[in-house]
Amino acid sequence: MFLVMFLMTDRIGKVKKISGPVVIAKGINDIKIGEVVEVGNDRLIGEVVRVFEDYFTIQVYEPTDGLKPLEPVHATGKMLVAELAPGLITMVFDGVQRPLGRIFEQSGAFIRRGVKVNPLSRDKKWYFKPLKKKGEKVTAGDIVGVVKETPLISHKIMVKYDINGRIKEINEGDYTINEPYGYIELSNGKEIPLMMLQEWPVRTPRPYVKRLSSEVPLLTGIRVIDTFFPIAKGGAGCIPGGFGTGKTITLHKISMYSNSEIVIYIGCGERGNEIAEMLKEFPKLTDPKTGRPIIERSIVIANTSNMPVSAREASIYMGVTLAEYYRDMGYNVTLIADSTSRWAEALREISGRLGEIPVERGYPAYLPDKLAEFYERAGRVQPLGKPVREGSVTIIGAVSPPGGDFNEPVTIHTLRFVGTMWALDPELAYRRHFPAINWLRSFSQYAKIVESWWSKNIAKDFGEYRRKALRLLTVSSEIEAIASVVGEGALPDDQRLFLLISDILKEGFLRQTALEGEDIFCIPEKQYLLLKMIMDFFDKVYVLIQKKVPIEEITKLPEISEMKRVKEDERGIKAVKELYNKIMTRLEEISRKYNIQYLF
């Protein structure tokens, strides 16, 4: 293998035709699809996407302005790979893993063409602590040692794929990622160095022993998600919505506050300032469990809308490969992609330039396959190697449908491959009801599965409350439709009660600011108590109304506005419990006043 690559280094071809990021070249007869090439005198990075006869087509990851026919094309003999080693965490990469921080230092605020920088530092030394001894037999995926990558992350050093043998030498100490910390003797007697740096072709999923079922919720602290439309660790979800409906804020929040062990955030064809905002927040925000800044468990891949389209296409694969690598160490990783639609558009643009025949709205026929492959890479698995362990990749993708209309290929096909959808609603967003997740259109297939976690850890009757509240919201929306024609005053009292309660649920439970204060993150206990408070209130008042207590007696209660506010009370759960008791006392008073016996 090494020998072959050595012989291949002198494979040079010539540019024939240039059309934006797509370049046709000629003259390297053993070129392979997926091989990385360097194009032109500036040696722009590109990847071979088609081969026919003597010609091959390259998707170039940098602007091709000024590139001319007959300029050279150098083959590298490599596929598009991710570098995997300590040093990934806290980094910001572009779609083909160029480190944006170092590029900034080297060439200033604007990204020029032809910049070549290693993704990971070759100078930094990491303290390697072996977990295996000389003479032990190891195979692919076995953890042989560990490096403290950040105060939050122990980076497990795993034996490369396809390798098994006996450790000849293994040393503790400071090493760079490409210095041997030991040697291994393969079964064929060959000896090869052990280094921390590995590579993996990004378009190929990393193998594992088996898939495991996902039962534990990823807790986001966002009530409408955790309580009503949860996502399981190892699950896949999407958040579609027109512009300004809250995709990015929701995803930022999840990347900041969810109980993920590692977060990989792909800014795919979106705004530069949104990346700037994250990079400003991440070093400041601390992980509640450890008190460490969350940047110490995060990787950002930023291929913003003004950066080259073809590298945007690659960014998704880069991100998910990094996620799988940490999964294999045994971590629960959350991969966020904002926005998968921009990725699909990049596919479409490249496909168009390749002259492929489009099927739906200009998208190539393989769009659904690509989406499926991507979301398939989510999951909870038992990785290769020993010790036996579990890890997961949870994928959450934003979808940006044109005109906010979900009836378009990317949304439609994405929905086939995800287990949960948070459907954003412009009407809610206009009203500044955030998160603008529509409770009637969203779904979660994980709700049933994670319910047992809630009943075991939070409250036995959580599931009942959840279902009841959802039902109430559904019924109320029908009543609302009637009220918008006849006016609320014309409705019977019990229907007005539904409207009152759904209003309390919307303000007091569903609406939740992402911006400041106590309510940014809501712990599960509090989610449950808030829901219980509102639903118990409903139950009791329903009885009162049946017993002919006029609804006005209820609507004038000062506790109604308190129920809408208590989520923001800094005293947290304590305040909710106090209010609960206050409400119950109040209802008791009313029932006494109307001589209703059986309420309490």
Binding site: R112, E345, G362
Partner: protein, 470 residues
């Protein structure tokens, strides 16, 4: 004139000359046997009459190049000479540029000599490294309540105005240019890019700039309606190249107004169709999102540099439809949008800003205690909620009559009316401070019972509610 453009765009380098135009298709030209035309390279097209045009290489291979003709393609024959300049589109920039007016090809139209000295810059620019960006947080006071109170603009933001022809978006833009300031009171340098502007509109803007004194710190690039549509692709890029120079070399805070981006998108569609590309939604090319992003994303602030670019593109929504690809893709890229409404305008509300579909994404970082006032965010939140309930009440009243509304809905309806008349509505020359704006907000909000104000913390109500004042 053409000769000066050629000098400007390509410097004094005279490259290779070819003959052999195979075909002219609208604004596209297919040329054979031009061995080494670079992608995006500028070419000079010389007519048998000696007339020169400028073009750009859209596609190149060792035997064939497709060239986009800029300027008027009318009368062009296939027996022209093609001169490869070896350069991409560049403009020279020096500090003499302030106060100047150019056409869409960067030729002066103010009877002053062209800018020839100075560093040349590629008008396509380079993508700003997201890591180099400073997140914008500095509040710009426009003196317009609807914007300052509900859609606060911050320095370095890109915030478009979505309008419909016939609405006073030009008046609004001029008012913003006149009144925009930051706390410290620094003035903005203005870069104005007119794309396919009617000459009356161009005159209006120039008069406004002159009257307000903004002309001193103005650079205008004017592509008029009668100018070749193809040049519209250059105008915003030239404007932003100038803006980058002013902001990041000369350390100005720059406010860029480009109007009308709809004309830009039409030109983009025209070329795409001529090239026979697979059309996207409504015939606009599939890459329009990325193309627009390379313009809009040039706004911003760079770490450790003094200047900034704040960008206000204006566009008219075809058919008044927010979901039309032009406003849709713009809204997906920009940091919010200011939506002008026909309905408010017909009720004599100026500026006719419908705040509900409008948004400023950077507002959250630019307001609050120390920046505007501590009550700003919750007040705005409550106003949004109340206004949306009020407009709902108004719709309902249209069906069942106002008498059919519940008493609380009646109050919301009253609120919505007052909000439009007192808060949104203001004079074209009225310049309100942010404190005035917020106080008016409280005044109209006090129409509602206090229990309704659940989006405002109690402590803030105690402090600012007009009925609480001692």
């Amino acid at each position: 004139m053409e000769e000066s453009l050629y000098r400007i765009l390509s410097g004094s380098v005279y490259g290779k000359v070819y003959r052999g135009v195979k075909e002219i298709r609208g604004s596209l030209m297919v040329v054979e046997n031009v061995g080494d035309a670079g992608y995006n390279e500028v070419v000079r097209i010389i007519d048998t009459d000696g007339v020169e045009r400028i073009g750009r290489v859209l596609e190149t291979s060792s035997d064939l190049a497709i060239i986009q003709i800029l300027g008027d393609e009318e009368g062009l024959q296939t027996d022209v000479l093609i001169n490869l300049t070896g350069k991409v589109f560049e403009i020279p920039l020096s500090d003499e540029i302030t106060g100047r007016i150019f056409n869409g090809r960067f030729e002066p139209i103010d009877n002053l000599p062209p800018i020839i000295s100075g560093e040349k810059r590629d008008i396509s620019g380079f993508p700003m490294n997201p890591i180099a960006r400073e997140y914008p947080t500095e509040f710009i006071q426009t003196g317009i309540s609807a914007i300052d109170g509900m859609l606060s603009l911050v320095r370095g933001q890109k915030l478009p105005i979505f309008s419909v022809s016939g609405l006073p978006h030009n008046t609004l833009a001029a008012q913003i240019v006149r009144q925009a300031t930051v706390k410290k009171g620094e003035d903005f340098a203005i870069v104005f890019g007119g794309i396919g502007l009617r000459s009356t509109e161009a005159e209006y803007f120039m008069r406004e700039f002159r009257d307000s004194g903004a002309i001193e710190r103005l650079v205008a690039i004017l592509n008029l309606a009668e100018d070749p549509p193809i040049e519209r692709l250059l105008t915003p890029r030239i404007a932003l190249t100038v803006a980058e120079y002013l902001a990041f070399d000369l350390e100005y805070h720059v406010l860029v107004i480009v109007t009308d981006m709809t004309n830009y998108c039409e030109a983009l569609r025209e070329i795409s169709v001529a090239r026979g590309e697979i059309p996207g939604r409504m015939g606009y090319p599939g890459y329009m999102y990325s193309d627009l992003a390379t313009i809009y994303e040039r706004a911003g602030i760079i770490k450790n540099r003094k200047g900034s670019i704040t960008l206000m593109p204006m566009l008219t929504m075809p058919g008044g439809d927010l979901r039309h690809p032009i406003p849709d893709l713009t809204g997906y890229i920009t940091e919010g949008q200011i939506f002008l409404s026909q309905e408010l305008y017909s009720r004599d509300i100026y500026p006719p800003i419908n705040i509900l579909p409008s948004l400023s994404r950077l507002m959250k970082s630019g307001i609050g205690s120390g920046k505007t006032r501590e009550d700003h965010r919750p007040l705005a939140d409550q106003l949004y909620d109340a206004y949306s309930r009020g407009t709902k009440a108004r719709d309902l009243a249209r069906i069942i009559g106002e008498v059919g509304l519940s008493s609380i809905m009646k109050r919301y309806l009253k609120f919505a009316n007052e909000f439009e008349e007192k808060f949104i509505n203001q004079g074209v020359y009225e310049n309100r401070s942010i404190e005035e704006t917020l106080d008016i907000g409280w005044e109209v909000l006090s129409i509602l019972p206090e229990e309704e104000l659940v989006r405002i913390p109690r402590s803030i109500i105690e402090k600012y509610h007009p009925k609480r004042e001692k």
